[in-house]
Structure formats: C-alpha cells, structure tokens
C-alpha cells in the first residue's frame, strides 16, 4: 500500500508540475515537451488503477497523435520564442536539448516504474479502491457497455465529430480558380483521331502545324 501511494504521489506531482510548466514556459516547443510528459504521467496513473485500456489509448491518441501534431504545428508556424531560428541552418546552441533530455529522462524513469512493477510484482500497482475483475479485460468490459447502456452517448459523440468535420471544412475550404486536375474519364475515353493527326509530308516542304 505504501509503495502504491508513493508512486501515486510521484506521478501526480510530475503531472501537476508539467501541467504548470506547459503554461508558464515561454518557449512553445518546451511547452509541448511538458505536455507530452503530462500525458504520459497521467496514462501511468490510469495504468496504476488498473484501467490499462484508457492508459494505452491516452498514450496512442494524445502522445502519439495530438502532441506530435502540436509539435509539428509549433515548428511549422514558427511561433517558438527564437523567431526565425528554428529552420535556419545556423546551429542554435542546442537550447532545446537540455529540456528535451530532462523530459525524456523522467519519462524513462516512469516507464521503468510502471512496466517493472507490472512485470515483477503485479499486485504492487493495483488499486484497492476500484473493483476491476481480472478475468474480463478492460477493452471487453468497455465494449460490453458502450453499445448497450451508453448507446445514446456513443451516437451523440458521432454527431459531435460530424459537426467538427463540417466546421473545419466550412472555415478553411476555399475554392481556388485555375487549378489543373486530372480527369481519368477524359483521359481514358480519348480516341486516337482526337490526339493524332496523320499528315502526308511532302519532300523539302515540311509540315505546317496549326494551319
């Protein structure tokens, strides 16, 4: 129990500190680093209470997709503090490296705790407050209720995603004039006599094109 609460407080502390760092650090790239750290710490917390499905989804969706996307956006928009330096060929003295190293070190440390505990002492990290049956996996138990008891919520989330998609298209799609597009139908249905013109070339006279 003591080990459990010690780990809980470690993870929570890291999560809270990195959440604060996301908002206070002036360098946007550092903010994203701390955001990733925050996500990973929270997914460790999920794994600790036995919700491994949520923890893994958190890792895949938030760290794997959202945070990396953030990182891309931050770099592409060049909103980092050192304006104009991110893509410049000049070596910037490696200001990101210490922070990046620190964040990845903490992540490494967290992973050792979680995976090590999971591997060698399975009862170490199990929470006593929530009853999760060990026979049924998380994924299965979520699937059991998602399409039955919570069907309304499932459907509403579908509508929300639809609206989000419509909104993104409305606000960003612009019809551009003069864009050349490939038309397969036009290409395939082209006949020989449309494209090739057979001309009887006379000696020493050549052929006049576009006559």
């Amino acid at each position: 129990m003591i080990a459990h609460s010690v780990f809980f407080y470690i993870f929570s502390l890291i999560a809270i500190v990195s959440a604060v760092m996301v908002t206070v650090s002036k360098n946007t790239v550092h903010s994203v680093f701390f955001l990733i750290l925050d996500f990973i710490s929270i997914s460790c917390l999920f794994i600790m209470i036995g919700a491994e499905f949520l923890g893994m989804i958190m890792l895949i969706v938030y760290v794997g997709a959202v945070a990396v996307l953030f990182l891309f956006v931050v770099m592409m928009l060049n909103v980092a503090e050192q304006k104009g330096q991110w893509f410049s060929s000049r070596w910037d003295g490696g200001t990101h490296i210490p922070i990046g190293l620190l964040v990845s070190l903490i992540i490494f440390f967290e992973l050792i705790i979680v995976i090590g505990g999971w591997k060698y002492k399975p009862d170490l990290l199990n929470s006593l407050s929530i009853n999760i049956s060990s026979e049924v996996t998380n994924t299965r138990s979520i699937g059991n209720v998602l399409y039955t008891d919570y069907i309304l919520l499932f459907q509403i989330s579908g509508m929300i995603l639809l609206v989000a998609m419509i909104g993104a298209i409305v606000l960003t799609y612009r019809k551009r004039a003069g864009v050349k597009r490939q038309s397969y139908v036009k290409q395939i249905s082209r006949e020989r006599n449309e494209g090739v013109d057979l001309v009887q070339a006379e000696k020493n006279k050549g052929v006049k094109i576009d006559a």
């Binding site: 008891d149 309304l152 509403i156 509508m159 609206v163 419509i166």
Partner: protein, 471 residues
C-alpha cells in the same frame, strides 16, 4: 424498441442533418433548397414534439434521458423560435453572401444539441449536448470568415467557451466524485449531507452555466460576439442557447442540487442582481444596436435568474414565462433590424434609425412597441414578464432583489426610450428599401401582435407553464 417513439424527434433531426448533407454534396447549387428543406424539417420536428407533449414523465436510456413537461415546453419554444429564426434570416444570408449548404445544417445540429441538453438527466449526456451545440455555435459565429469582426468573435467565443467548459467539467467531476453517480436523481439521493466537495462542484457548474447564459460576471464575450457575428446568427445566439441554458439551470438547481438550496441561492441572487444592474448601465453608451441588444439580453437574463432564485414553483414558472416573452421580443426586434437595408447593405447603428418614422411609419411603430415592451411598460407583454418574476420574488419576501430589479428597470428604460426619441424626433435620413420577404414580414407581424395583445389573454402562456412543477 417500445420506447422508440419518445426519442423520435431527436432521431428525425439527426437523420435530416445527414440527409441534407448528402443532398448538399451531390447536388450542385443546392443551398437554397437545403435552407427551405431545413425550415420545413424544423416545422415537422415541432409537430413531432407537440405530439409527445401529453406525456407526463418518461425516462429513457437507463434514466439518463428524461422527457417531462419542462423539457417538452422548452423544446417547443426552442424549435418554434428556430423556425422563425430561419424565416427571418433567409434573405439576409443571401445578401451578405453566406448562403452555403452548411449554414442551415449547423443550425440544425446546434438545435439537436440543445434538445439533448434540455432532456438530459445525466451529467455526461448534458455535457455531450452542450458540446454539440457550442461546437456548431463557434462555427456559426465565425461563419462570415472573410470579415475580421466575425472571425474575431468566433475565436473569442471559442476560447472563452472552452475555458468555461473546462470549469464545468471540473465541477461535474467533483459532483461525481462526492455523490458517486452521474445521474441527476441519484445525485439528489446520494448527497443528503453537506460536504465541501459538492459545494465546490455546484459553484463550478454554476459558473459554466452562467457563462453560457452570459450572466455577469461571465458576460464579457457577449457584446463582441453579438456584434461580430452575422446578424442572423446573432438572432440565433440571442434566443436559442439561452432557452437551452436556462432549462439546464432549472434542471440542475431543482433536481440534483434541490437539497442544497441554501448553498446556491445566494450565488443565483448575486448573479441576478449583478446582471440586472450591469446590463442596464453598460447599455447606455452603446452605439451599435447589436451590442446594445447584447447588454439588454444580459440584463434580461438577470430577471430570468431572479425567478429561479426563489426556490418555488411559482418562481420557476415565472422564469419560463419570462424567457418565452423575451424570445418573442427579440424576434420582433431583429426582424426590424433586418428591414434596415439599403442597396444590399444592412445598417445596424443607432444613428441609422434617426428620423425613421417619417418614411417608414409601420416599421417605426413596431420598433416603438418592441422597445416599450423590452423596457417593461404596461400593458405590453414585457411588462407581464417582469410582473410575474417580481410577484414570485416578493412572495418569498426577497424584497432586496425586487427593489434592485425595479431600479434596474428604470435605468434600462432610459436607453430604450432614447432609441424611440431618435426614431421619432431626430432629423430624417435616406429611405430604406421597403420590399421584404414574406417570412420576415410574417415574423414581425406575429411577434408584434403577440406583444400588443398579450394582456387580453395572459393565461395563454401561464396556463401551459403552470403544469411545469419541479418541487
């Protein structure tokens, strides 16, 4: 399946949204068609809801969805005003070149979200409905994306609304943590004894809801968003989200938190007083009519909340009556605003109204009636709305609230009357176009006649509303 018919309105509108989207994708230049189809589908939706309104109380989806008198009445006025919003705005969005297929579809999906909010009996269902409606509203606010003000208003609304959603969710998680349930009825059963966690949860949820209803001190987004959005969207903003948020307010205060009224009553009284005073005072210096109506709506929300703070059925009913009359007055006011058009340009400043009475006597007369009603001058409908609220407040001997409310009415009357003075006594300006589409004329006629004739038959609303009891 035996309960299928009760959820039919929601299913109908969802299918309509997807169908219209498909029509819009595969049929070229179908924006006008989809606009009219959406208006018709709203009318059908209204009929479906009215068809269900004889039911007393139905629980669906593991009692996370509740259909009762409150939700039925609120949905009827919601969809009814949705129809009128579509009718009045049809010409406007064509003129300012916003006639895209997505516009009516976003309005429909926002209405769907509001219907879910109104019927929700569960924290998660409520939050999903709220997100569905606000997501559509963010896009609608910045729909005129080439206009700087519109984009700004959309972004502002998005950022502030996301913040308030965060606070609301935090409140929900606290409530869930301390009462061990997300179901409203179950929360009521489980939270019999006082604890700080629940109180904090209530405060956070009330903050989030007060933001959605634009009550002081969470009102700062309203004037900019109202001014920046296209006018047809402003009309939508001024009416429909308020109906949904007010019914959620009633639901929260009188279902899960009914035992804790000593905790929330002071909060509601404070928000109500602050909104009434601020809305009245801040509107005085405004030059833009849309901004003015934003401040006016803030103070009107204050009156509606005053009714809620009384912890009595009479108070709830007075609030519901208030919002019903408020939406009619807003419809009438915005119909007048849509008529201020000259050479494909819409005018929305107070000075544009100068001397309107000389060349447009009927329009000026309707504006006069609407503004008198907004100011609460008898015997117009706006007076009765305030009258019921103050009656309920005084019945519970909350004299301070009543006195402040009355004083705020007097202050607010100043800026409404100033507009009337400008219309009737200032030098006249160029003539506006007089040919308007039928929907606009019908809306203005119906709403003005309602405001004028309400005193003849005041039980028309109060009788229906008196069926809604929460305590």
């Amino acid at each position: 399946m035996e309960n299928f018919q009760y959820i039919l309105p929601e299913i109908f509108i969802s299918i309509a949204i997807m169908l219209f989207l498909l029509v819009g994708v595969f049929k070229k230049n179908s924006s006008n068609l989809i606009y009219s189809l959406s208006t018709i589908s709203l009318v059908i939706l209204l009929a479906l809801i009215i068809n269900l309104s004889s039911l007393d109380k139905i629980y669906l989806f593991n009692s996370s969805y509740k259909i009762d008198n409150l939700s039925n009445y609120m949905k009827i006025i919601l969809v009814g005003s949705g129809v009128f919003v579509m009718l009045t705005g049809s010409k406007y969005i064509q003129v300012i070149n916003l006639n895209k297929i997505e516009y009516p579809i976003l309005i429909l999906s926002s209405i769907l979200g509001m219907m879910i909010m109104i019927s929700s009996n569960d924290l998660i269902v409520f939050y999903m409905g709220l997100e569905l409606q606000s997501l559509a509203l963010y896009v609608l606010a910045s729909f005129n994306r080439d206009n700087l003000l519109s984009t700004e208003s959309g972004l502002k609304y998005f950022v502030l609304s996301a913040l308030s959603s965060g606070l609301l969710l935090y409140g929900c998680s606290l409530i869930y943590g301390f009462s061990e349930s997300t179901n409203f009825d179950q929360i009521l059963i489980n939270s019999t004894e006082f604890n700080y966690g629940t109180t904090f949860g209530i405060v956070f949820i009330l903050v989030g809801l007060a933001f959605k209803i634009s009550a002081v001190p969470f009102h700062m987004w309203a004037p900019d968003v109202y001014q920046g959005s296209p006018t047809s969207v402003t009309l939508f903003f001024a009416i429909l989200p308020k109906i949904a948020a007010l019914s959620v307010f009633i639901k929260f205060l009188y279902t899960p938190f009914a035992n804790m009224n000593d905790q929330w009553q002071t909060i509601i009284v404070f928000i109500s007083i602050a909104s009434m005073i601020f809305g009245a005072v801040a509107a005085i210096g405004q030059k833009n009519l849309k901004r003015l109506i934003a401040y006016s709506s803030i103070s009107h929300m204050g009156y509606a909340l005053a009714g809620l703070s009384t912890v009595s059925n009479q108070g709830i009913q007075s609030s519901i009556t208030y919002i019903s009359i408020y939406l009619v007055m807003n419809l009438a006011f915005f119909s007048c605003l849509f008529m201020l058009k000259r050479n494909d340009k819409y005018y929305e400043n107070i000075e544009d109204l100068s001397g309107l009475s000389k060349k447009h006597p009927i329009l000026s007369l309707s504006l006069l009636i609407v503004l008198f009603s907004l100011a609460g001058i008898p015997p117009l409908a706006g007076f009765f709305a305030k009258f019921y609220v103050f009656l309920a407040v005084i019945e519970q001997s909350m004299y301070f609230l009543a006195i402040v409310g009355l004083l705020a009415t007097v202050v607010a009357a100043f800026y409404y009357l100033r507009i009337i003075k400008i219309i009737y006594f200032d030098p006249e300006k160029e003539e506006y176009e007089t040919s308007h589409n039928l929907g606009l004329k019908i809306t203005l006629a119906i709403s003005t006649i309602f405001i004028l004739a309400y005193f003849i038959y005041p039980s028309s609303i109060t009788e229906i509303v008196s069926k809604i009891t929460m305590i």
